[in-house]
Point group: T
Amino acid sequence: MHRVLVLHGPNLNALGTREPEVYGRMTLAEIEHRLGDLAVELGCELECLQSNHEGVLIDALYSARGRAHGVLLNPGGLTHTSVALRDAVAGAGVPVVEVHVSNPHAREPFRHISYLSGAALGVVQGFGPEGYLLALRGLAGHLSRDRRPQA
Amino acid sequence: MHRVLVLHGPNLNALGTREPEVYGRMTLAEIEHRLGDLAVELGCELECLQSNHEGVLIDALYSARGRAHGVLLNPGGLTHTSVALRDAVAGAGVPVVEVHVSNPHAREPFRHISYLSGAALGVVQGFGPEGYLLALRGLAGHLSRDRRPQA
Amino acid sequence: MHRVLVLHGPNLNALGTREPEVYGRMTLAEIEHRLGDLAVELGCELECLQSNHEGVLIDALYSARGRAHGVLLNPGGLTHTSVALRDAVAGAGVPVVEVHVSNPHAREPFRHISYLSGAALGVVQGFGPEGYLLALRGLAGHLSRDRRPQA
Amino acid sequence: MHRVLVLHGPNLNALGTREPEVYGRMTLAEIEHRLGDLAVELGCELECLQSNHEGVLIDALYSARGRAHGVLLNPGGLTHTSVALRDAVAGAGVPVVEVHVSNPHAREPFRHISYLSGAALGVVQGFGPEGYLLALRGLAGHLSRDRRPQA
Amino acid sequence: MHRVLVLHGPNLNALGTREPEVYGRMTLAEIEHRLGDLAVELGCELECLQSNHEGVLIDALYSARGRAHGVLLNPGGLTHTSVALRDAVAGAGVPVVEVHVSNPHAREPFRHISYLSGAALGVVQGFGPEGYLLALRGLAGHLSRDRRPQA
Amino acid sequence: MHRVLVLHGPNLNALGTREPEVYGRMTLAEIEHRLGDLAVELGCELECLQSNHEGVLIDALYSARGRAHGVLLNPGGLTHTSVALRDAVAGAGVPVVEVHVSNPHAREPFRHISYLSGAALGVVQGFGPEGYLLALRGLAGHLSRDRRPQA
Amino acid sequence: MHRVLVLHGPNLNALGTREPEVYGRMTLAEIEHRLGDLAVELGCELECLQSNHEGVLIDALYSARGRAHGVLLNPGGLTHTSVALRDAVAGAGVPVVEVHVSNPHAREPFRHISYLSGAALGVVQGFGPEGYLLALRGLAGHLSRDRRPQA
Amino acid sequence: MHRVLVLHGPNLNALGTREPEVYGRMTLAEIEHRLGDLAVELGCELECLQSNHEGVLIDALYSARGRAHGVLLNPGGLTHTSVALRDAVAGAGVPVVEVHVSNPHAREPFRHISYLSGAALGVVQGFGPEGYLLALRGLAGHLSRDRRPQA
Amino acid sequence: MHRVLVLHGPNLNALGTREPEVYGRMTLAEIEHRLGDLAVELGCELECLQSNHEGVLIDALYSARGRAHGVLLNPGGLTHTSVALRDAVAGAGVPVVEVHVSNPHAREPFRHISYLSGAALGVVQGFGPEGYLLALRGLAGHLSRDRRPQA
Amino acid sequence: MHRVLVLHGPNLNALGTREPEVYGRMTLAEIEHRLGDLAVELGCELECLQSNHEGVLIDALYSARGRAHGVLLNPGGLTHTSVALRDAVAGAGVPVVEVHVSNPHAREPFRHISYLSGAALGVVQGFGPEGYLLALRGLAGHLSRDRRPQA
Amino acid sequence: MHRVLVLHGPNLNALGTREPEVYGRMTLAEIEHRLGDLAVELGCELECLQSNHEGVLIDALYSARGRAHGVLLNPGGLTHTSVALRDAVAGAGVPVVEVHVSNPHAREPFRHISYLSGAALGVVQGFGPEGYLLALRGLAGHLSRDRRPQA
Amino acid sequence: MHRVLVLHGPNLNALGTREPEVYGRMTLAEIEHRLGDLAVELGCELECLQSNHEGVLIDALYSARGRAHGVLLNPGGLTHTSVALRDAVAGAGVPVVEVHVSNPHAREPFRHISYLSGAALGVVQGFGPEGYLLALRGLAGHLSRDRRPQA
């Protein structure tokens, strides 16, 4: 059983109602419901948290040490601006998979730059809400191959 | 009656005492008092919040949905660095007017770059505390012309 | 009584008919009419000039010395390219308020750079034609607080 | 039944033996074997092609029109340098999912820039060979939701 | 009689069906047909080749030496990325006219940069398929004024 | 009958005598004579204007509205520096074809950047004086296909 | 007696266990213990706070006004990205000494840029945990030479 | 006898009263008076012109052909932004000496870039009004060594 | 006996006739003849291939694995633009020496950047055709010191 | 007993009299006197050298090998421009602590870039002459923890 | 009587024989002879020094304090790369006039950047050897107006 | 008999002991010994000089005029920062071959930029100490083909 922390960063509380032509109409609750179903199938246990606060996300990443085997992280706009969050991803000591609902490369130039991705295990972007499911599969597969609990 | 949320970002708690040669000597309380007088004149109802936390500002922008018709936002230094706040301005679904007490273009080069302004309805900068009043007028005028309550 | 020179730069002659999805449908004549009404209210006397010639605008800024108390300037595309106009704003010896009908930060990257703003007293942008009225209020307020006639 | 073209770009012929500390030890044949198994499960039919020639990849993308429903593309180093390949991805008229075995953001700066990603449906990177399986799932899921055969 | 080689680069095979809102609906066959009619009028003999392979285009440019008096080249996306093709244009020893169906300056920033144009005799862009005819006229005019066969 | 305004920007008054190794020895009068002959052939009526003043060129572009069907513009050095002229090209409401006698890409790096081209219908460069004739053909062809008089 | 606020920014909670090859194995508690011993020797009184929240750090800087004579600040990754924190350092009205455990210049390029340092009194970096002691000495020395309590 | 055209660009009309801490208190009339005295000594005949219009300066440069042996040019802010003026300096066919009252390198970064200087014979900057005298000496010396009248 | 693959990239087919003022008048055949003579002296066996196709060069680099002990590569213009070729140099598993006939640093700025050199064993440039001989010596010397056949 | 070489780079000979508003009024002799007192306390033996010659500083760094246990280096303006000095710091084989009297980040942008710091053990800047004492403490502490004499 | 130190930087020893098409054929001895004649006329006393050593130039600048009233400095290639020399110019406490024989803006792009000029009193460039005479006049004029001996 | 000056720049005194994982373990004396042997074979006479002083290297380059036929120069870190040394290479009037022991392109980004190479005859890099021998061969070959003694 893999314990996975699912972290949603700034603005993801508004998923489904905010700029739906970019982000689609599925809400975070619906995504977490679908993630939950897949987690059962993959033998994972999820804990989900959304926050608009960089500090809360960093705190959560450290809280994952010893408690979770991996993290699914949608860093939202912090992807492009936060060295502190990157440092937490590198420092948390558990593998972190980055996921984006939209495809940042098809958007404004400032979204083509990422501080975060270089510290992540892998990145999934552009598949809409489906990306969360792919990311969970990717993380679970990684954990199954390398399953030492993180201390 | 327009309900307007007034958001003051990082460091504005210190207005009036911090670097007065740049920001003047009027405090936030005095500005809000003057804004209140103008709000009455313009038929607006104000709710004011200052925070040094990016996350609190983002939360507040989403809280404005369905509760406020517009937002007056002084993003302080986050103007130049926060994609997350920009995304909240774009995603909040209410018009946001950006205001700066000083004129960022007359200061350091890193203040000449703005992530935020592209998502705002309009920008007022350089008029000192007076800028808040102009910004409220600009917002109220916009709301009067386009007065559907925001959902 | 404040004497205010209103300067419209290149392409503003076509306001109302040129790219109306960007600049709206109000003409310069209509804006000046509305400005005139507000000027009466604020105790200002306006003199208006539109020119597509950078040199005419510079000449006009110097002509303002000793004749006007302040200037309202929409520099149009010269905002992003003219050091000479910036120098005239700095050299004219009267406070200059910059106004833009559109929000340059929501447009092409070359409109995110401003040579001019650093020399202006304040900037108002993105409010459509309404911005002229806000700018006049901002200028008049400044002049009332600091009303020495400019020599 | 979705017909999917799997395209491997330059240097992927050497997967498994080339720089294994970066790309791992699984060969392309092994990856295609695993992809084949998953394809059966997902109801997809695969056609695989590796080429070190940009032109062959572009030709193949156009050959997919009317013959395949989607493309899985690992563009290798062309990701960072080829506008021609991007144009083919945009022009092929079938959804293209981009996959990378390594995480380009954790490598040299010239791998942080992508011409291609902005034209792709989605991107999966950093999961090693497993990424191909995630990408196929992502593509198949997309095709199932939007299953008009591409003309 | 001027012998002219007409070279179409990557993605031009799909002209007429690919992104028609950018490139129009005329196919390469139709363009070549119209070019053929104009060639007769101008006393030119055409040889046409389309390839998605940079190497084939370079080979063709060298094959033109001693066999053709000039080249009409639509380099497609290679315009912005290929020093090798530029070197072939410079080295081929026959005048090369560059043509683009769309106007690259009205598109993404990476299309505003050209390695190729500095080595071309002249450039025609933005006129749609008509641009090929203008380019042929430009080349033919040049050859008539300077008609030494190229060795 | 298409009415076409031919605008020559800064320094073109000196064509034929200024830096002839770059610009050739044909004068503007000779070019306009040859343009006139072609105009008769193409059923166009020309009006020609040369000015070293950006403002005069902008004024002329607006004067074309309702009076001319298209504009031939050689913006000279303003190509690389004038947002105001670009805005006039975009705002004039008639198609504008840009022409350059020399090939800017074969010259100094500051000539490789263009503010203007993105707003033009098409560009012809590098053919020497002949470029004007090609540009007129390109414009006339465009007008014949899309001949609504511009208001 | 100098009252000194010691502020540790994002990720410093994990000091000693996070990436020990970069940051060493001494924990924050151990550092604060050693700082406490030195404080006694230097006649300082310490108050320590670690937070992963930019806003908490800004709040704390303002809380120092009138309560502390100086601040020791390890801004972590915010060094490179936060104008808001810089503004608080400038606005707090007490001297701030910046300290880094690692040497940012020996790491990734994005750590070579600092928004914060320009507003600090001084910077100590690269000495590992020892740097805190040097920074406290530097601050205490400064306060002894210039000992007006900060208002 | 050398005929020398003295051209003063934008904002120099205000010399002596505009930003005197930068440009000093000597007016253009006083400078021209002193230049006149030196001209007599050097056997030069001066013709002076100030304009805030780029176009007027370009016109004047061409008017110098055949009428003047050299030009003294203070391009003001156009130094940093005008390719058109540079082209006129290169095209005028008479040697042009550039002079600046202030030292642009001791001011804002945008004044460290010069389009114009590369086309000038020589540059004198930073000597205040005295610079005009040095520049005239430099020009007269050049003309004496190379005195063919310019055609 | 060292087996050495000699690869000539794009445009080198034209050596001796193309831009001889840059590249000299010696043809590739003559260079290969001289290389052959030196190979005998150094105990090397050569296999030579020229191609204008990036893909052919990449294929050839992989074909060298297990068959050749080293590669001499003149990448031509691909030096400055091809990450794919760099990856093949890194991935081929045999030492690659890069050679240039001209000195790229004495030419256009875009030739001062190299993607390829960082993956090569060594670089020889600027010696004209002689550079091939130096490069072969350098490679042979390296192989003699480290002579395990490459697998 | 630690032997420490104290190296003062260009312009430090003038400390105390040169730009005292930036560098203070303490001379190098006074600093070295205070350093000497601290050295006794810390059990260090100092050797001091000031030079305006980069080469003398590099020579001195190598002379430190085997003779000194550490180096205190104020590189002055060479910090921002000298790769050669950086290489000597890296190559000297003894730990080097960098010290600056002023805070380079509070000065011109070209002082925000450092070639040198990445090769130093640690950096102390902004504390005025006091910084030398902190730097010596930092170096002595490092040597005490890791006291093998350098060979 | 003004005492003036004339400093010639790197490579000026070779003036007259080195790249005469750029620097002319007059030697340093001839220039100093002509400077000497002018010095007599202007009431100056010269001391001349050429060195290829940055450190010697910096030493000389400090030696000028109290001994010379001004410095004439041709910094050669150090202009574009030396912050240390700039600091000496700023720190020497005597006015320094910068002179260049050639016009750096008409040469390679790396000569368009100057670290030094911002600290100089004035700059004279492009007049060939004559520039030294103009620079001496400029310096002497400055000293006559502001003749306090430098301490 | 060719007289060749061998110049080793900064830090090369430490070759063999400094960072041997980058530069190897062969000392300069050993390299010069091997160079000496090859010189005999090639009919060259060597004179060797190492200096950490840029000025000494420049002096030596000029001393080569009339005394040496060519120069072998390892500029070390000055490669990337010294315009003065580049000017000496260009001005010395003898062919200069640049050699590097390591491959700068495989190291930090600031080593990918070269001021010097554009003025050298040729460059050899990445072959370790062997590179000196290749460079001498390259220089000797050049001198044999073009053997006029340098004046």
